[in-house]
């Protein structure tokens, strides 16, 4: 049975594309992240996700503290009939 050389070459090319896609995605995401961090550092507001989560936790804590103060006062001073 004769071998179609074009078919072999195109199959090899398809295999190469298939192999390159995950490499491209990994490289692209890494490069994108690094570029962003460099831009953020230049702008002076670089913050990691952990820092953002810590700040968010502080915001929640401040809200809870204020809410607790108000709730406690209202509980200790029930409305008079």
């Amino acid at each position: 049975m004769p071998i179609n050389e074009d078919l072999v070459k195109y199959t090899q090319l398809l295999g190469m594309i298939n192999g390159l896609i995950p490499v491209a995605i990994t490289l692209g995401t890494t490069v994108g992240g690094l570029v962003k961090e460099a831009i953020a550092a230049g702008r002076g507001d670089a913050a990691t996700v952990e820092e953002a989560q810590l700040a968010l936790a502080n915001f929640r804590a401040a809200t809870a503290d204020t809410k607790s103060f108000i709730d406690t006062w209202l509980a200790e001073h029930p409305p008079t009939a």
């Binding site: 090319l13 890494t30 994108g32 992240g33 915001f59 401040a62 809410k67 103060f69």
Partner: protein, 166 residues
């Protein structure tokens, strides 16, 4: 002839892969811009809630000395209670914003944060209405104005980064 065709096809494939890399790179850039804004907004949010507590403390202290009666103090604190509920809502949206990937989702969440904080701002001033003593009203109004400035800072930050302009 066959060699030339293969060469061109390889070139197209490499261009496609490069274009894909650039697209993914730009996606990587976009998703990583969230944290710094969420951090700044959260820092301001914590400051905002400390300001709301300062208002509550000032009013309850005034009640202890008889400057404001208990019923009016209750009215003030009940409104401030709604304010804290909206602040909780805003912090939940902020958490979602930290995880949001698409600009459309980010814009929607940023709009919700703005709306919740606008309620905090207006609610705070509404809370002061039952206060009749001029001195106390002036003191807490100054505290409320500081809170209002913080809300303005947050809204500006959120607007600049996330809200999609028409």
């Amino acid at each position: 002839m066959r060699m030339r065709l293969d060469y061109r096809l390889s070139l197209y494939v490499m261009c496609g892969v490069l274009a894909g890399m650039l697209t993914v790179s730009s996606t990587g850039c976009a998703e990583k811009t969230i944290p710094s804004t969420v951090k700044l907004t959260s820092d301001n949010g914590a400051r905002l809630m400390k300001g709301v507590k300062a208002v509550a403390v000032a009013v309850t202290d005034a009640q202890k000395t008889g400057v404001i009666n208990e019923a009016d103090t209750r009215k003030v604190l009940e409104t401030l209670q709604l304010v804290t509920t909206k602040s909780e809502e805003a912090s939940s949206y902020l958490e979602m914003l930290l995880a949001a990937q698409s600009p459309a989702d980010q814009s929607t969440l940023a709009g919700k944060i703005q709306a919740a904080l606008d309620f905090v701002n207006s609610g705070l001033f509404t809370a002061l209405v039952p206060i009749k003593d001029e001195q106390l009203k002036a003191n807490v109004s100054n505290l409320a104005i500081e809170v209002s400035k913080t809300v303005g800072l947050i809204n500006h930050e959120i607007l600049e980064r996330f809200v999609v302009k028409p």
